[in-house]
């Protein structure tokens, strides 16, 4: 299905992503881990074509993605939804409108400029919101929602695109543990029930282990690990995070119990 081949991105001297190779044969839930600056976001942004690759190629179902331009590129973006750490919603617009932005690519510019969407789309948007458990929030402004709810709106927008792939760039990094769990579970459900491919950048090991079928580890732009969650031992994790022997997994954890433990530890420190 998806083939990433020697994909490279350079910002000036800095190589953010360095000849990454990933091959995915069937819809999988993939977690990408790595410490800050490892190149995770850059990789996803290239897949969504928010930024251009410096070298290498991305192929999806035989179609070359990296060379798409203009309408073809936008068409690809509509098939490849993206979820951001900061949700990237339009805060002053209501929830349903934000979800409907997922259909922008399919609708004529003129109609959408005046916020004219077909009734069927509106109904579908509300159904998706219902599926994510936030249908009651439909008429509210996005900015009035809690972080977890906003992220679910972003997921709803992604689902509205009816995409083949959902890319999620640290979707739970700005959420508290409770909300993080809800959001990750939603992504997992979407993957399982709709059979969509999900690629999520995650900054904690245990989330990756718990929700993903496959984990990719990045370090300094290079892919240094690619395997099942089981293969991801503490040693490998140390390697990915470039940490010494003082590395404790709990430090990257957001799971609720772990968190409490670490907070208590900190308080005693």
């Amino acid at each position: 299905m998806l083939k990433i081949d020697a994909l490279t991105k350079r910002f000036g001297d800095k190589t953010a992503v360095d000849a990454a190779n990933i091959t995915v044969d069937q819809p999988t839930m993939i977690g990408i881990i790595g410490r800050s600056g490892a190149g995770k976001s850059t990789l996803l942004r290239m897949v969504n074509r928010l930024s251009d690759a410096t070298e290498g190629s991305i192929t999806f179902e035989g179609e070359e993605i990296t060379s798409l331009r203009g309408a073809a590129r936008r068409d690809w973006q509509s098939r490849c939804a993206m979820i951001f750490q900061q949700f990237n919603l339009v805060p002053r617009m209501d929830v349903v409108s934000n979800v409907l932005h997922g259909t922008l690519n399919k609708r004529s510019t003129l109609a959408t400029l005046f916020n004219l969407y077909p009734q069927a789309d509106i109904h579908k948007a509300i159904e998706i919101l219902d599926r994510l458990g936030i249908a009651e929030q439909a008429p509210k402004r996005a900015e009035a929602l809690s972080g977890g709810q906003q992220q679910r709106v972003a997921i709803a927008r992604a689902l509205m695109q009816d995409p083949k792939i959902i890319l999620a760039d640290e979707p739970i990094a700005s959420l508290d543990p409770m909300n993080a769990q809800v959001v990750m579970q939603s992504l997992r459900d979407i993957h399982e029930q709709d059979g969509r491919m999900v690629i999520a950048n995650l900054h904690t090991l245990d989330t990756a282990r718990r929700y993903c079928d496959r984990v990719i580890g990045m370090r300094d732009g290079r892919i240094v690990f690619d395997g099942t969650p089981e293969q991801l031992t503490t040693g490998v994790a140390r390697d990915i995070y470039g940490a010494g022997s003082d590395f404790s997994e709990a430090a990257t954890s957001t799971e609720i119990e772990t968190l409490d433990r670490s907070a208590a530890e900190k308080a005693y420190a």
Partner: protein
């Protein structure tokens, strides 16, 4: 801390306070020096000498009172009664104020014992309590009187003219005519001029009383006569206010509509071509720098006097101002929202519509509405230059230097108009953006 250290700290603190004192003294001193310079440059001391407080008193008393002239033309012997001495305020034939009496000898009672009598053969008697009776005779070009040589300061006299000013009224006597001005509080004829049948009729009677003018219904007639009042010209005033607001409205909104697309060209985020960006910005700076005043002058040649010229002058200047602030707002937009919208495959226009516009609209709108209010004030001045609106009426009323009650009326209206626009723009802002952002 050791004794040495603390002494050093003390020393340091002393220096600190010396410095602070120096600054504290320096700033007021600079300001004082500047104000002293201004005092001489503006010749403030000379101003105090030149200031005419009599004018101020006239202005203040005239603005809330009116006077009725009783005039005798010494050649024809004819006597006329007119509010403010204006033709429009003349009493209809056969009518006169009730403080005037007599046929052969016209007795004018100014109140508080001040009495003026127009005697036959152009003689006049003025009776003022506490002062000997003044007798004046007008002959041809000269006036003769029994006034002594040294006069109190409220009487001015020469062989050609005598002027008497008392708190009850004013009397001027020349060879050609004799005039008495009697002052009353209030704006006379504000509702109806003397030739209207509704003058002096109570509101209740107009609303519910029997028909006064057989040809018209009371209300319609009263409204018509009031609207077309020749003294106060309510119709013209209303039009002038509308014109002023119109200038502000057209100018502000037009400028906003032109500036918005141009602002995209001037914003770094949206306009990658440096040259184009620079050119747009210089254009904004230029039209703003030239200033509404000069634009008014330039446009007056092309479009002539009137509200459109004023509106265009505001429009051009504000295009520059809005262009600048709008492009600043555009440069501060949050990239996240744009990216969120782009990631769905939205087309460029859609990206602007949903990624950019919702973010900048509150900023732009509150700017525009703020300017709507302040432009109402500008339009008043610009109108005075281009010849339109309430500003022109005000300047001209002031230039006549006598219709102070009209000036006061216009001033009140202008203040109300500006306050109304202030309220309106605040209300719209709250409606459209929400009270606090």
């Amino acid at each position: 801390m050791s004794a040495v250290d603390i002494n050093m700290t003390k020393q340091y603190a002393d220096d600190l306070f010396k410095r602070k004192r120096l600054i504290a003294f320096a700033i007021p001193t600079v300001i004082l020096v500047y104000l002293t310079y201004i005092f001489f440059a503006f010749d403030v001391s000379g101003l105090a000498a030149r200031a005419n407080w009599q004018n101020a008193v006239t202005l203040a008393s005239d603005s809330w009172s009116h006077k009725i002239h009783v005039t005798r033309d010494n050649r024809s012997g004819e006597i006329s009664y007119a509010v403010e001495g204006e033709r429009k305020g003349e009493y209809p034939q056969g009518e006169r104020p009730d403080w005037v009496s007599g046929e052969e000898i016209i007795t004018i009672d100014l109140g508080a014992g001040h009495i003026v009598r127009y005697l036959p053969e152009n003689r006049t008697e003025v009776e003022i309590p506490g002062y000997p009776l003044i007798e004046v005779q007008a002959e041809g070009r000269t006036v003769t009187s029994n006034l002594p040589a040294d006069l109190p300061d409220w009487i001015s006299a020469s062989s050609r003219r005598i002027g008497i000013t008392t708190p009850e009224g004013r009397i001027t006597l020349t060879g050609a005519r004799t005039e008495v001005f009697n002052y009353f509080p209030g704006w006379e004829l504000f509702w109806f001029t003397l030739d209207s049948p509704y003058h002096g009729v109570g509101l209740g009677q107009i609303l519910f009383g029997e028909q006064i003018d057989p040809t018209r219904s009371n209300i319609a007639g009263a409204v018509f006569d009031w609207w077309n009042n020749k003294m106060w010209r309510h119709k013209d005033v209303a039009w002038a206010i509308c014109e002023t607001i119109l200038m502000a409205f057209l100018g502000t909104m037009g400028a906003a509509m032109i500036a918005l697309p141009l602002a995209f060209l001037a914003a770094k985020r949206f306009s990658p071509i440096m040259l184009l960006r620079g050119a747009t910005r210089r254009l904004f700076d230029f039209v703003r720098g030239v200033d509404a005043l000069i634009w008014t002058v330039v446009l007056a040649r092309a479009f002539g006097p009137g509200p459109l010229t004023g509106a265009l002058a505001i429009l051009i200047t504000d295009t520059g101002t809005f262009g600048k602030t709008f492009s600043e707002a555009l440069e501060n937009v949050d990239q996240k929202q744009i990216e969120g919208v782009s990631s769905t495959g939205a087309k460029p226009l859609q990206r602007y519509r949903f990624g950019v516009i919702p973010q900048v609209v509150p900023v732009l709108l509150s700017q525009v509405l703020y300017f709507l209010e302040s432009n109402t004030r500008s339009a008043t001045i610009i109108g005075a230059i281009t010849g339109g609106g309430i500003g022109l009426m005000l300047t001209q009323a002031i230039q006549t230097q006598q219709n102070w009650e009209e000036v006061a009326y216009y001033i009140v209206l202008i203040i109300l108009m500006v306050m109304f626009m202030d309220w309106l723009s605040g209300w719209l802002r709250a409606k459209l953006i929400g009270t606090k952002d």
